[in-house]
């Protein structure tokens, strides 16, 4: 039956638009620190999948910033942040000194070391490549750098990964911390523009398909009915 054609056109266009939405979500974050581009626009089901199927985990470029509360991770680990009882993973290493000297990110979430929140009395702090925090001449804590294996699509939140339970993660062993640097987004503008073009053309093809189908139907109805 040719009746399936409108349905196919409709589903195709819906998928194309969903993909354009995904691309726009990546391009608007082209300058967002630590952003990892999203690979899939819609994932069926609610199963945990390997993180590298959802996100492009390649490294963003690492830029020097001259600021000692800027940290970049060279490797597969993520910073751990805590807000109330929720934990988040983030690649964004831009931190600030908040209330009571607590080290926080721009959303106010507390950066986690192995001993919990990290407190500083001033911004004079050294972080070595293992993540050990040297403040006032002594090592006060070590940054907790974790690595997710399997995540559900619903855990993904624009550069963050939400986690309910830290036990589903493992400690990253091959992460190198760099103080005074930030990791840029790994969005590839050329790939984005090419996908946009192909989506646009695909929608046009579908439009053409529907209009041909329409004229065939027109012919069938008017000529056969004569």
């Amino acid at each position: 039956m040719i009746d399936k054609i409108p349905e196919i056109v409709s589903i195709s266009i819906k998928n194309d638009i969903s993909d354009v939405n995904r691309i726009s979500n990546n391009t608007r974050n082209v300058n967002t620190i630590g952003f990892k581009s999203i690979l899939k626009s819609n994932i069926e089901g609610n199963e945990s999948v390997s993180i590298n199927k959802l996100l492009n985990l390649s490294a963003g470029e690492i830029k020097a910033t001259d600021r000692n509360l800027d940290l970049a991770i060279n490797g597969d680990g993520w910073f751990v942040l805590k807000n109330n009882f929720n934990f988040y993973l983030s690649k964004d290493g831009q931190f600030f000194i908040g209330e009571n000297g607590k080290l926080i990110n721009k959303s106010g979430y507390a950066l986690q070391g192995f001993q919990g929140n990290i407190y500083l009395t001033n911004s004079d702090v050294k972080v070595n490549n293992l993540g050990e925090i040297n403040h006032d001449g002594k090592i006060i804590d070590r940054l907790m750098i974790l690595k997710p294996e399997q995540i559900k699509p619903e855990q993904l939140h624009e550069g963050f990964i939400t986690i309910k339970d830290i036990s589903q993660l493992s400690v990253s062993v091959n992460s190198d911390i760099r103080q005074g640097y930030l990791e840029g987004a790994n969005v590839d503008p050329s790939a984005a523009v090419i996908s946009l073009m192909s989506n646009k053309r695909h929608i046009e093809t579908m439009q053409r398909t529907l209009s041909v189908y329409d004229s065939i139907m027109q012919k069938a109805i008017s000529d056969l009915g004569k």
Binding site: I17, S24, T27, I43, F96, S107, K200
Partner: protein, 253 residues
């Protein structure tokens, strides 16, 4: 409607704001004591953590510039020879009083003498440390630890006039920047400690020097280029989204 349009529109606004901030830095490249500001991009985390399996619609509420932070690295010190130019070599801010009696903090310490002999910044804000320079003082000496001494015309011993103190915050970056090279205290900046220059991590004073702005021209140019290209990329998304919507409107042509 297509999300991409809204996404790209927000991104355009954000990068435009970013370019505004860069232009503000560039225009202040010769302002003494100016600290470069950096945009802090915020990706908002949506609180919806269940049920939704569409990775895109679940990815957050947008990117915006949450804040700007002033980069408190030291600017270069330049010799000016004026005895009332005081540069702070290191951390610390000088506390001044605004017209409305509120306190503000500055590093643009080109001072002048008011009619009553007290010290004020070049823009006319009085220093909170009470220092009065009597008319018979011909030369003012400001030592690196902040002690202000006056040299008298008759060549006798210098008289001590007062002490300039520096304000130290837990987090200088969180101070609110206002016009005239002034910063206001905020809750996020944490505790305020008033210390003598050279003590407790505060910088020393350098008489006869001004601190230039810490704007780095190369940094600003690179940021400008990347912001411009990000703007361009997102305007392309707007264009394509528009064409797609047009095609859809013509589905039954």
């Amino acid at each position: 409607m297509i999300n991409a349009l809204a996404n790209a529109e927000l991104a355009l606004q954000t990068y435009q704001k970013n370019i505004d901030m860069i232009s503000h830095n560039v225009s202040n490249i010769n302002t003494p004591g100016y600290k470069a500001s950096r945009a802090v991009f915020n990706t908002l985390v949506s609180n919806n953590t269940q049920g939704n399996v569409d990775a895109v619609s679940n990815t957050g509420q947008g990117v915006n510039i949450a804040d700007s932070l002033s980069l408190f690295t030291n600017g270069e010190l330049k010799y000016s020879g004026s005895p009332l130019d005081v540069a702070i070599q290191g951390n610390g801010l000088i506390e001044v009083e605004l017209e409305n009696g509120n306190l503000a903090y500055t590093r643009a310490a080109t001072l002048k003498k008011l009619d009553d002999g007290s010290l004020a910044t070049a823009t006319g804000y009085k220093l909170t440390t009470d220092i009065v320079i009597p008319p018979d003082v011909v030369n003012v000496v400001i030592e690196s630890n902040g002690v202000v001494k006056g040299e008298l015309a008759n060549g006798e011993d210098n008289i001590e006039l007062g002490q300039i103190e520096l304000a130290m915050f837990d987090s200088f970056e969180s101070l609110e920047s206002v016009s005239g090279g002034l910063w206001l205290r905020t809750n996020a900046a944490g505790d305020l400690n008033v210390v003598r220059p050279g003590e407790d991590g505060a910088g020393e004073l350098q008489q006869g020097f001004v601190e230039l702005s810490n704007v780095n021209m190369i940094n600003e140019m690179v940021s400008l280029m990347s912001a411009q290209r990000a703007y361009q990329l997102n305007s392309r998304v707007v264009q394509v989204s528009d064409q797609i919507l047009e095609t859809i409107n013509n589905l039954s042509r």
